[in-house]
Symmetry: C2
């Protein structure tokens, strides 16, 4: 059942039927109702390829996710995808997913954009200096970045206020009497890690605390990385009384390491973790004090909306969104030992 057949059945021209279905104003209300009714009962579905050809759009947004090391099964990524597809589906837009090793990433963006397979991109896992952003900017493809780069002025993005989050954590620990605060972080090329680290530095400065470089430990992204980082930190002769962890996978490792060392969280040592403990974790009976962000699903929905805004030519100013974190208190932190 195509437009021609439907219009023939109605005794109208395809033009009129098309306009009636697409909500144009220059068609009488009576005709419109008649058309809509007939379309419904005939089970008419417009041919998307034809429409796309005529309109020059693909109704698809691409997302290229980096594969391989450094992104070992970030489980939250799929939740972002959930949010994206949910919001896009409401607009009849498809999400096209591609994977690429870091070395092939640009080529993949090129393939998708030059082949006009998508109308735009969602760019995840931004880095401080990000060639993907550069490439898309210069070739004029619409996109929304999930996270900012060093210079974030010229494009649409959605990000958390990572600096503020770390500062909140430092302030809280400082109020609890801690003065020796450690920090476990993901690779600083990842911009979220960089920003959170910046916030840590700023927070410490503001609190008048000095940063011990041996207590600032990089961890591979993931549980194991966190575990090893914490082992390193605890191996020294003097150890911090509190630790902030910049991602919740590493956070699991850190917490696990503390427990394995026979220490009591919130008493012997305090830990605050970005995003707290993953729902699925073996750390039971422990509510880790968290720097709380919007859910990945919510982020996905927001990213989708920004993408829609971009394609509709909304002013850039409205397309740069920063969400504010807050502290969700748990029982993994407490007064510094010897404070009271």
């Amino acid at each position: 059942m195509d437009l021609k057949q439907l219009s023939a059945r109605l005794g109208l021209s395809p033009t009129t039927v098309s306009r009636a279905l697409n909500g144009y104003s220059d068609v009488s209300e009576r005709t419109r109702q008649r058309v809509i009714e007939a379309a419904r009962e005939a089970g008419y579905q417009p041919n998307l390829m034809a429409r796309r050809l005529a309109l020059g759009k693909t109704d698809a947004i691409g997302i290229v996710h980096p594969t391989g090391a450094g992104h070992l099964g970030d489980p939250r990524f799929l939740e972002v995808v959930d949010g994206l597809t949910e919001r896009f589906a409401a607009e009849q837009i498809d999400l096209l997913i591609a994977s690429a090793r870091p070395a092939d990433e640009i080529a993949t963006y090129e393939r998708l954009s030059r082949g006009r397979r998508v109308d735009g991109f969602i760019v995840p896992h931004t880095r401080c200096r990000d060639p993907r952003i550069d490439y898309l900017g210069q070739c004029g493809a619409p996109f929304v970045a999930y996270g900012r780069t060093a210079d974030s002025s010229g494009y649409a993005w959605f990000d958390f206020d990572n600096e503020a989050g770390s500062r909140l954590a430092v302030e809280r620990l400082h109020r609890l009497g801690h003065r020796r605060i450690g920090y476990v972080h993901a690779p600083l090329e990842l911009n979220f890690a960089w920003q959170r680290h910046q916030g840590f530095v700023a927070g410490m400065e503001q609190a008048g605390l000095s940063i011990e470089s041996r207590w600032v430990v990089p961890a591979g992204f993931g549980r194991r990385g966190g575990y090893e980082a914490m082992q390193t930190m605890m191996a020294g002769s003097d150890t911090p009384t509190a630790v902030i962890v910049d991602n919740n996978l590493s956070g699991v490792g850190v917490v696990r390491c503390v427990l394995d060392a026979g220490q009591v969280l919130g008493r012997d040592i305090s830990v605050i973790v970005y995003d707290g403990t993953p729902a699925d974790s073996t750390v039971l009976e422990l509510e880790v004090t968290a720097i709380e962000q919007p859910t990945p699903h919510g982020a996905g929905v927001k990213l989708a909306e920004l993408m829609l805004g971009v394609t509709q030519g909304q002013p850039l100013q409205e397309l740069q969104v920063l969400w504010a974190p807050r502290i969700a208190p748990g029982n993994s932190d407490g007064p510094a030992p010897g404070t009271r």
Copy 2:
């Protein structure tokens, strides 16, 4: 630069140019070379929407992944997607991803297939009785299932020989002298869980061992579920000397629980886990004995190839592929206590 412009530049008709580029035989070799050369240097890219309209294909395959409980961030899913996109990209085929809550799943398949947004589907996470398979079968949409259903005769699928895997594990433990063997499993609606459980039952029978129902414990999918299941099992007065776990997330929980109880793996209690330990785990210095499957990435590639086979009308027989598991010995199992 479109076909018309390119043909004008060459002094040929669009027809000829099209045929030259698409490898038809009825064009002279000299002309073909000339056309290919010109196309390359002009950077000609065919308009996919136009081609799709003309050919009535979408060059896209859909994958609908169930969102919400029960699939909490299965990290391996993304790896499967990697394999899929990698293989499909080589054929200029896009992978379209959608998310749906279990209740909306069928509707999503319907939206995608009736809207002719995709040429076929990959169906993940099959269940024993699976309405998605029923729906796709009856509406005639091409698809490949990742895992079989109870009746797997009428469609293309890729699966592991889950029964064989469990039997291998039981045999190994039996040879090591174990007679009291427990089993921790994912919900049995999931077909892989069902099959693995069947294999366990068959293996025990074959070994002449009796199954203690209190040692067969269902666990939610995930680390925590495994942990709790193992707690349950170890709470009883008499406990098994060995445990088989049917997925590696629960496996982490089980192992963790054993360690937390101060027992030594491979000596006090033996554990064999499907797929072993995830690369990113806090269980250090321990190589869990695994029932080894192909990698998710490999599975993705294979699924993509099966999909291609389906669209090319290959006989069904060649499109039902079972991969055989093997045991990868680690140090989490050993002779039953008191055996030697």
